[in-house]
Amino acid sequence: MDREPFVIATTDRGSIAVSADAVAQIVGSAAAESYGVVALAGRGRLSRLVPWGIKKGVDVELRPDGLVIQLRVVVEHGLKLAEVAEAVRSRIHYELERMVGLPIASVEVHIDGVRH
């Protein structure tokens, strides 16, 4: 995973960069406000030791073709999971395009659990 911040604009006076952490915060915040999402899932022990690019339940990576986002969420029991996941995915995509402006290669939403 890339530790360097992602450069989003370069001018003759310098460049503007955004950190993977900031991207993860945007993703986490958009997910938390998405209907049906009651929690962001915790991650495995190993990933918690990796200090960069990870918010709870959020993975951010910059590949040559754009940002790759992976998100793990817990959804309220009794909701149609496919519709919830699609709404979360499209919202994250939209928020990232609007706020960060980097190309987005993929946004994957994993439903890790269902809360009764």
Binding site: A32, E33, L79, V109
Partner: protein, 530 residues
């Protein structure tokens, strides 16, 4: 709760929501401005109405169970999911008692609000959630304590309207776009339809919206009925509303247009004879067209499978595409798509629709083109559900899908096809020209309602009252990377484009331009450069 009463209220709610569906679609800017809130709510409510029609529930608890299940199964889109949760909380309370009092109704609204809020980690105010919460609060006011259910419903509706009007104060994105919340507006129209049903008031026309809902849009919807029936009624003092109400009883996808001397009727029904009798009872019927829709589908399948058996055997890879518009369908078919599913911006097919199409393709290897960013995930789901080897080439628009299609050869292996199609998709530049439905600021572009709006690769790049300016700006941008082949898909309300071709070729020497009648709604012009 009695089944008959609930049926009546739900139908009335659906009818009123349908009349406002386009307006609500146009309000939709949050959480993602994809203009489908009205349609998603309508489809969700429709599945509840259909379940009630089929229900044999004899007591309140069983009615509640049927409604909850239908809401969950039929939930479409973000607003549909929230609505399904509101419905669940509402009928859960009502299902515990046989009768309905004002006090019980109030507890039902509280249940609806609490259940809706429970399913989100961080509720956003200024949305459907705010509206249902305020409705619940209104129902609990002391001065309403002695109201009968109908009266309470009216008070709750008035508060809901007020809450919707205040949504821009709570959510900046609404204020910036100059709209109220679409989901909240939909919820109020549903409540209003219930009030009409409860009081027996007529549902007023919503003239602007119903007119723009054309036959094509209606045909995109799924119908459980067999016959598409169209006819004209000539007569004097024809009562459009009365005829509509009678036809409503026997079918769906109903459209009655015209005036007191002539009405055009379109209805999907299992009993076309009865529909015609309703017409002849009030006037002279002519121009009758009855099509067996199940037969139409079957015929299409036959047509697809017809080719000689030997030709079929050389098929290595099948292809399923999702796209809106008759012209686009033909275009994808002519480029080798084995199956095309209607769908797009405001009508997303379900995973099951896509899975059915995948299963129906006569090959073991199938490539799927979602052709819309909202359909990509559903497609991936369908792909994972199939036993076949399925690859999704994630085209985010019809024109992007068309670019990918140019790399498809049914005689080649799935790996080879996937590789070339992804390559085409990657290198293509796509653009869209639409008419702005409201004044707003987007991607740093100031957009005025009614102006032409140009987007390139999903980003707004230009807005101007002059179509020429917008078309050239978009085409210049999609050709920036040195592409030499431009395809234009004209939509439902497309302007004349012949004049543009010469202009493009003059501005971009060596450019080849191709124009096809795509027939997609909402986007007069779609372009892709390769």
């Amino acid at each position: 709760m009695e089944l008959e009463v609930v049926r009546h209220l739900a139908r009335s709610a659906l009818r009123n929501l349908e009349a406002h569906r386009r307006r609500i679609d146009d309000l939709n800017v949050y959480p993602v401005p994809d203009g489908d809130t009205g349609t998603n709510l309508t489809l969700t409510l429709r599945s509840i109405v259909e379940a009630l029609d089929a229900s044999t529930a004899v007591d309140s608890e069983a009615v509640a169970k049927d409604v909850t299940r239908a809401a969950l199964m039929g939930a479409r889109g973000n607003s549909g999911v929230i609505f399904s949760q509101i419905v669940r909380g509402f009928v859960e309370v009502l299902g515990r008692h046989e009768g309905v009092s004002g006090a019980l109704l109030s507890r039902a609204f509280r249940g609806a609000s609490d259940t809706a809020y429970r399913a989100v980690k961080r509720p956003v105010e200024g949305t459907m959630l705010t509206v249902i919460r305020e409705m619940a609060e209104e129902s609990e006011r002391k001065e309403h304590r002695r109201l009968r259910p109908n009266e309470l419903l009216q008070a709750v509706l008035a508060r809901g309207e007020d809450a919707v009007a205040r949504t821009p104060e709570l959510l900046d994105v609404l204020r910036n776009a100059g709209v109220v919340d679409a989901g909240g507006a939909g919820l109020v129209e549903i409540a209003r339809g219930m009030v009409y049903g409860a009081t027996g008031e007529e549902i007023p026309e919503a003239p602007v919206e119903t007119e723009s809902l054309g036959l094509d849009a209606i045909h995109l919807e799924l119908s459980e009925f067999r016959y598409c029936t169209v006819f004209l009624v000539d007569g004097e003092d024809l009562d459009k509303d009365a005829l509509e109400a009678q036809l409503e009883e026997i079918g769906d996808s109903l459209l009655v247009v015209g005036d007191s001397s002539a009405l055009k009727v379109h209805v999907h029904t299992d009993d076309p004879g009865r529909a015609l009798m309703l017409g002849t009872a009030v006037g002279v019927v002519e121009g009758v067209e009855i099509a067996n829709m199940h037969h139409q589908t079957a015929q299409r399948e036959e047509r697809l499978l017809e080719g000689s058996p030997s030709a079929l055997q050389t098929l290595e890879t099948g292809l399923v595409a999702v796209c809106p518009g008759r012209g686009n369908r033909r275009l994808f078919e002519s480029l080798g798509a084995t199956r095309v599913i209607e769908g797009g911006q405001t009508m997303n097919p379900s995973a099951k629709d896509i899975l059915d199409a995948i299963e129906a393709v006569p090959t073991d290897d199938v490539i799927v083109l979602p052709n819309n960013s909202n359909v990509v995930l559903t497609t991936e789901q369908a792909a994972s559900m199939s036993e076949k080897r399925v690859r999704v080439v994630p085209s985010r628009s019809v024109q992007a899908g068309l670019a990918a299609m140019t790399g498809f050869m049914s005689a080649n292996s799935i790996d080879e096809n996937e590789r070339t199609m992804l390559g085409e998709l990657e290198s293509a530049a796509t653009g869209e020209i639409t008419v702005a439905s409201r004044t707003a600021s987007l991607d740093g572009i100031e957009i005025r309602e009614g102006e032409y709006l140009g987007l390139v690769d999903d980003t707004a790049v230009v807005s101007d009252p002059d179509l020429d300016v917008v078309v050239h700006a978009v085409v210049d941008r999609v050709l920036e990377r040195g592409h030499t082949f431009l395809t234009i898909l004209t939509g439902d309300d497309a302007p004349a484009v012949d004049g543009f071709v010469a202009a493009f070729e003059a501005r971009h020497p060596g450019l080849e331009v191709e124009i096809h009648d795509g027939g997609q709604p909402h986007y007069p012009l779609l372009v892709v450069a390769q």
